[in-house]
Symmetry: C2
Subunit: 162 residues, 2 copies
Amino acid sequence: MRPDASRVAWRGKLIAVTVEQWDGREREIVEHPGAVAIVAVDRDGRIAFIRQLREATRLRLLELPAGTREPGEGPLETAKRELHEECGFTGGEWTRLGGFWTTPGFTREYMDVFLAEGVDAGAAAPEPDEELELVLVHRDEIRLADLEDTKSIAGLALYFGR
Amino acid sequence: MRPDASRVAWRGKLIAVTVEQWDGREREIVEHPGAVAIVAVDRDGRIAFIRQLREATRLRLLELPAGTREPGEGPLETAKRELHEECGFTGGEWTRLGGFWTTPGFTREYMDVFLAEGVDAGAAAPEPDEELELVLVHRDEIRLADLEDTKSIAGLALYFGR
């Protein structure tokens, strides 16, 4: 299953846009290296969220920790690195909860979701351009309908539905 | 909350990319008119899914009916139009289940999710470049972890969690 023709229409630092021809249909596709999200639960049953400015939305959103895969990095490695950088958490028992295409109408981004249980707190090490606030919410107090982004709702639905 | 500078870096037919400067941080943002997804339930408790080729993924995915807002169209109008075009369904009792930012790290796409209960079957009217297969699955037989894209998992989580 391949396009008849494909050309890179724009290339940025994080994303690029490819325009493909499929049997007369044109498709604009955002290239993306793939991503991960993490449901991290501490020993008291609290789940880690990150509050941060999402420039695209003009809002500070509360989301599951997540991040983009670096070249050569497997999803579990990305997940452990991001959880440490964003939340300062290390250790824990790791399980893959599942994965999903984030917006298959216009990107190739695939996101793997991991569960990390019994993580140990520590100092976060965010990248210089990230202003992150760690928020811990007990799993009994989470209402999916109050969350603001798709991966946080879907990732937690996989966790609660195990 | 506004960027210091903003320029359109690329403009396609469906999407465009804006590059914004925020206090020294550069952000690549995919512009998008917004979208809707629909949890449509017939009188037998079956939920409508669409199977279609998603060129970006090179796969035929099974997803909730969904679509992009046309200029001047409110989310509920889009939802009713898309459910008719993709599935042939009309009528039903409509409720908003919620909404979410689909991938706030790099797009402005916001998706509203509607519930349509007791819809009436009819002839679908897909756009000429869409090859769509309607699949009805009873709500008791749906396992969220088997679904392949984020909005279908999140949208159904909102439905099951009402």
